[in-house]
């Protein structure tokens, strides 16, 4: 193998080289900007990661996620192959290209464009057999990429065949980059085939070359074809920062930052920017989103939100408030972008402050007792300090160890705590009811609306009451409360349990006995208990002692959202019902006699729509208790 072109240069390499230089400079500035945005501690963590054993884990993740797309393979084989063949095939073409230069024309090593246009610049000598192996590999990987591109084109027309019901709508930048990407590889095949009789080739390029040879004066086309190949590469690189393909380089940085334990602290800059640019707009989040069952709501799914955030559109706030925050898209995302967190941060950043005030909670005043509402409003009387909102002496006795907090939603469905108390009595557990007369909210609805600052005062107050009670176990019925108590309250030394966990423990210990029924039970995983807190097994274990579990179409990490979610304030009653109906179909309720859930809000949303019986887990246990 030796050089065919003496100076190793031809003008056609210019478009590619310009594009390559541009993208390298762009990536360097982008990375520096993002790292500059991180806090000192985060930068320290990142540095620590680079010099620790975790680096190998990070590299492994980069190979499985960025090159092989293992997560997409798990979703759909063809879809996985489509992504992996393009990514891995292209990567191997680049690597082998460099190896070839290193082996055969070492004096050109380091020339930016040389490995890409290797086959133009070299010619065969009698040593070709040595190169035959690499030629074969090059053709093999080119074929792999081409098959991936063919699948991608097929997916444009029949996305269902690749396991996707809906795909993303593209912006002009995406379309330009997409067209360039689709052209790169067929043009590469053509270009390499045109010179295959000079520079050598393998099964693919040689055979195409023999067809080309049939046409007279094909020689004249060699330079234009190589020009076209170079131009398509150049266009792709110039369009890259303005298209979804920016995810290719950004995802590597994302994996590094994530493994350094960094999470987003703003909805757009710093780590969030890495997340936003890592979104490949693949659209996997669209299919799993509960919003798509409502007409015209598809445009509010995570992929479109991320796009709005990326372009700093004002609409991002409205889109964030649409989301039900069931977290299904985060579970399904092959890149692992925490879009729910971005939405929450967006809401928080834009929340109009100075509205809600819970001063009376902290001062221990009870306005209502002393002054009537009318006097309050119209006479502007000064509020007289009165009784505490929740006094220690009313419901909480210090010696008790089990403290029960019902929360707003369970107060709306009192059957749940009534059943639960009967179970507790049967098991002779001493408990006290923290909010017997109603209480202040746990704070999660405010957090979800973006008013995290206001929620703090509620959290502080509740924390004080719980700490003062001296309880060692806090029992909850509502997963919404459960999540916030676990994540925001810092209740050291107090075990926080959801009643499905607690009842399961009681049964295991033999404190209560259950008579098994012949009922077929369909269990619905509430978002905040399942995806939010990782409790899947305990309720199932419990229910299998009560009856037979029916396997839903979608369950656990992919369980449907009931539609009642508090996070969204933009769904009307009718629209929520659409989601409930959709959720009922995936719960496989036709085969079940009873639908069981462990969230009062899910119970409240399902029961009016589902024609058979809907029950809370505590209710069904109480019913079957002997």
């Amino acid at each position: 193998m030796k050089e065919r072109i003496i100076f190793g240069f031809d003008p056609f390499v210019i478009p590619f080289t310009l594009g390559m230089v541009f993208i390298i400079l762009y990536l360097i500035t982008g990375t520096v900007r993002i790292i500059f945005h991180l806090s000192a501690q985060e930068r320290k963590n990142l540095l620590k990661l680079v010099f620790s054993l975790k680096l190998f884990k990070t590299i492994k993740e980069i190979i499985t996620d960025v090159l092989l797309h293992v997560k997409i393979f798990k979703k759909n084989l063809l879809l996985g192959y489509m992504h992996a063949s393009i990514a891995f095939g292209w990567f191997m073409l680049i690597v082998i290209g460099h190896v070839e230069v290193l082996l055969y024309i070492p004096q050109r090593n380091g020339v930016l464009y040389y490995p890409i246009f290797f086959r133009y610049f070299v010619m065969e000598t009698n040593q070709t057999l040595r190169g035959g192996f690499f030629f074969f590999l090059m053709d093999l990987f080119l074929l792999m990429v081409l098959s991936g591109i063919a699948l991608a084109i097929y997916k444009r027309f029949k996305s269902r065949r690749l396991g996707m019901k809906k795909t993303t709508k593209h912006k002009p930048g995406d379309r330009i980059a997409l067209t360039a990407l689709w052209l790169i590889f067929p043009l590469r095949l053509l270009a390499e085939s045109f010179t295959a009789d000079i520079s050598g080739g393998s099964f693919l390029t040689k055979s195409v070359n023999s067809i080309i040879q049939l046409f007279p004066s094909y020689d004249a086309l060699i330079t234009p074809i190589w020009w076209a190949y170079s131009i398509s590469l150049g266009i792709f690189f110039f369009a890259l920062p303005f298209s979804r393909y920016m995810h290719i380089p950004t995802e590597i940085l994302l994996i590094f930052l994530r493994n350094a334990g960094i999470v987003s602290s703003s909805s757009r800059d710093g780590f969030a920017e890495t997340e936003i640019y890592s979104c490949s707009s693949c659209g996997i989040c669209i299919d799993v989103c509960p919003m798509i069952s409502v007409k015209d709501k598809t445009k509010f799914t995570s992929v479109y939100l991320i796009r709005e955030l990326r372009r700093r559109k004002e609409a991002a706030l409205a889109t964030s408030s649409q989301c039900l925050m069931c977290n299904k898209c985060v579970e399904a995302c092959p890149v692992g972008i925490d879009s729910t967190r971005l939405k929450l941060l967006k809401k928080q950043e834009e929340f109009a402050t100075n509205f809600f005030s819970y001063i009376n909670l902290n001062n221990g005043q009870n306005i209502k007792e002393k002054t009537s509402v009318k006097e309050q409003i119209f006479d502007d009387k000064q509020v007289v300090p009165n009784k505490q909102v929740v006094t220690k002496d009313t419901n909480i006795a210090n010696k008790e160890t089990l403290l029960y907090y019902a929360g707003c939603m369970t107060h709306l469905t009192p059957a749940i705590y009534e059943a639960l108390f009967k179970i507790l009595n049967k098991a002779s557990v001493n408990y006290s009811f923290m909010d017997k007369d109603g209480s202040i909210c746990c704070g999660r609805p405010l957090i979800l609306a973006g008013a995290a600052k206001h929620a703090k005062s509620l959290i502080e107050k509740n924390r004080e009451i719980i700490k003062n009670s001296g309880a060692s176990v806090l029992l909850l019925s509502c997963p919404i409360c459960y999540k916030v108590f676990k994540e925001e309250y810092n209740l050291e030394g107090i075990k926080i349990l959801h009643h499905s966990e607690y009842i399961n423990e009681l049964i295991k210990k033999g404190k209560i006995k259950i008579e098994k029924t012949t009922l077929n039970i369909s269990y619905h995983d509430p978002c905040d208990l399942g995806r939010g807190s990782g409790i899947y097994e305990q309720p199932r274990e419990l229910l299998s002692t009560v009856g037979t579990l029916v396997k839903p179409i979608e369950e656990r990490e992919m369980s449907a959202c009931c539609g009642g979610a508090l996070a969204s304030t933009k769904f009307s009653y009718e629209q929520r019902n659409e989601i409930v109906k959709c959720a009922l179909t995936v719960l496989n309720v036709q085969k079940a006699n009873v639908l069981v859930t462990s969230c009062p809000l899910c119970l409240k949303t399902f029961s009016p729509i589902y024609e058979k019986e809907t029950m809370d887990i505590a209710q069904i246990v109480y019913k079957q208790m002997i």
Binding site: N354, F356, V373
Partner: protein
């Protein structure tokens, strides 16, 4: 004319001069507010209403009369738990109304 009784000064609503633009803006973005029949289910179930003068039903009434400050006093104790929207017989999206009012009131006041 003397009737032997009278209204609180603040409760008098002069229909010619009231400024209920905030109410109208809310109705533009969330027409649910017009559906209210004033049954009071929201107030009856309200978590905040147990200990503070939070009242959603009355707040809507006051907003319609342009008494924004008084409505604000009735809504500032809201904890957005959403029970009111679950019990509402008209299926009103109460929290969206409260948040929209929050936004508009903040723009006009703070």
């Amino acid at each position: 004319m003397e009737f032997g009784f009278q209204l609180y000064k603040e409760q008098k609503v002069d229909l010619d001069i009231i400024d209920n633009s905030i109410f109208e803006k809310i109705a533009d973005s969330q027409p649910d507010i017009l559906k209210c029949i004033g049954c009071g289910c929201c107030t009856a179930t309200c978590t905040g209403g147990k200990f503070t003068p939070t009242q959603f039903r009355k707040a809507i009434l006051l907003l319609e009369r342009g008494l924004n400050d008084n409505a604000f006093d009735l809504l500032k104790g809201c904890m957005l738990c959403g029970k009111c929207s679950l019990v509402c017989p008209r299926g009103i999206n109460t929290r969206d109304i409260i948040l929209k009012f929050n936004e508009l009131y903040n723009q006009s006041k703070f």
